[in-house]
Amino acid sequence: MSATAEVIPHTVEPHPVTGVYNGKFGMWLFLASEIMLFGALFSSYVLLRVGSAEWPHGYSVLNVPLATVNTMVLITSSVTVVMAWYCLQLNDFGKARLYLLATIGLALVFMVIKYIEYSSKFEHHHYPRTNLFYGLYFTLTGLHGLHVLGGILVFLYFVGPGAGMWKTDPHRYTNRVECAGLYWHFVDLVWIFLFPSIYLL
């Protein structure tokens, strides 16, 4: 039996020096690259806005009340994810599962509201190509929407087929939910910056 076999060290318990298990360190690195991705989009937004002769104010063109509701939905889903992870700490899988379902539900509400927003824009013949403002609006919020969709799929996996791991290796399952939670908080963070810069300014 080769001594090390093929068990990868530190997948569950933290590394003595760095104090972090592999998954969390990997997720934080991925979030760093996401910061650079959205950072590039924000700097393009600033450059294009500063460079153009005139630019409509977000609130005069977009539906701000609906977007505010959307922001509240996303913040609540951020809290339910933390509560889910918190319940897993207390080995209460049932409650945690409920919180995860709540997160998925809220995320779906977010997507539905976004669908309403987009379809109302298309009715008024405001397409991405209409002008630069709508181009940036659709691209930024669309990419953020795709990230929300990705989060929904991950949480569906944890509630569905992935739940089996809770029985075999609860600690690793908790870590996975924590990493997914980190990603979800990041998506919420991006929306926290996206909302004022496009809708309000």
């Binding site: 080769s2 530190h10 990997g26 690259s33 460079g51």
Partner: protein
Amino acid sequence: MSAATHGSHAGHDHGAAHGHDLPFWRKYVFSVDHKVIGVQYTITALVFLLFGFSLMMIMRYQLAYPGRPLPIVGSWLGPGLVNADRSLSPDGYNVFGAMHGTIMVFLAVVPLVVGGFGNYVVPLQIGAPDMAFPRLNAASYWSYLSGGLVMFASFFMKGGAAQSGWTSYAPLAVISPGQTVWLLGMVLLITSSLLGSVNFIVTIVQLRAPGLSFFRLPFFVWAQFVTAFLLLLAFPPLEAAAILQLMDRIAGTSFFMPTGLVVSGQILPTEALPHTGGGSPLLWQHLFWFLAHPEVYVLILPAMGIVAEVVANNTRKPLWGYRSMVYAIIFLGFMSFIVWAHHMFMTGMGTKLSLFFATTTMIISIPSVVVLTALILSLWGAAMRFNSQFLFALAFLPMFAIGGLTGLPLGLPASDIHLHDTYYVIGHFHYVVAPGTIFAIFAGVYHWYPKVTGRKMSELLGRVHFWPSLICMNVIFLPMLFQGLQGLSRRTYDPLVYDAGQAVQGWHFVSSWGAWILAIAQIPFIINFFWSAVAGKKVSDNPWDATTLEWAAPSPPPHGNFLKSVSVYRDPYVYSPPGRPSDFWPQNQPPED
């Protein structure tokens, strides 16, 4: 090297009795073992290297004999690429130019040095059983392969492959055909690099063997560590730019399209190009070069790593100034993020801005000088063994010196006025990549081939491959420097149109023949590569008497790499220690015996 060789060894995997027998396609095709993925990366990237190389050979025919029908290849190429009389058409020349650049940078060299060597060697050198996230590693390879196939398929699609350069500058790339598929391929390749870099950083930080502190890491691992950070933080801005350009092309937005464009006599927006304007073409250049400069350091850092390994091993002497080299490449990695605009001196930047980027460019040339000087001084007081890999590593030093030095006139905005976008630029970066990185790749293949297959590559074929390659590299690229000084613009399909072109047409002829002879000089390597896998001389686990950890594992290492757990007691390159019988002291040998 090919998957088949693994079969012959797996039968009697001595010791690893537990070998859970996966079906063939799980063990070799969709494997999660970093070694199999490393081999898959290497072979796919070598195929793309050959493909990119052959595109260039066709272009060289047009440059050497402008307008003459292509000999054999002419009948194969479709109407989009050749004229009615089978000579290469201007569109064909631009398509081959753009795809030669894209394939060589994103599909051949980076996957070879990072995906192939990095995946195979780094876990072994740090004493880890595998990468931190094996499945992520497989996902990164398959995303790379699908990106490569998308790029390859774009040749056969209606619009043809991309034809606005590997830099795909904004208004041209948004209005010319073939760019959408190129962008999709790029997004796949970027995803592959991101997944790979996350994997590398976590592996190097978390899975080091006990006793292996950061400053006992082999220099190759340090190079991969800095490269992974460059990939992780530099690629996303290009992904953002690719998304914006994709929206420009598909949804008709105009992020990069200024107002009031008149294309082919028609004022935008028209049906075909519904851009209402307001965007900035320079935004694309800034985002692209924000990635592309760290990308060119991604090309050179692992090569420096490979050369350092081979030099230390074959001079039987520790590297001179190991710590100064490590600090140099960390500083290099950081600086590479704030030099990007020296590619854009000619876009109407003010002097304040040019001064800032010229200064950072001068500063960034210092760490490269430090690494090169350290490598040359490592030769002092050595006892050199001239095997094939050492020849390639030695050739890397002067060639990289020429490549780096010719970067100086391009880094100063004043001299850049004359030399920007001329053949001088092509000579500069090809000197760094071709006799630089690709020679380092050859050195790496000759050096780690015994570890991967358990057999040595033939030394004779190695020399038959080395000497003509070295001569041809200089025959191809030295004339380009002179053509550039003459002021001949790059990417010109028919140089005879310009006075400068007519004056230096002779050099095109020389470069083209150098390129074709270089192609012939690669045949011994290809033969050696496949023939030695089955008929090469069988060797022990440590044929080169090296000190780093990968030689403590059996060749080829089983799943899980090391038979007994490995721990580290000393620096990576303890060669010829005074008062010891043998002239090398492996890292994992306990100090007492």
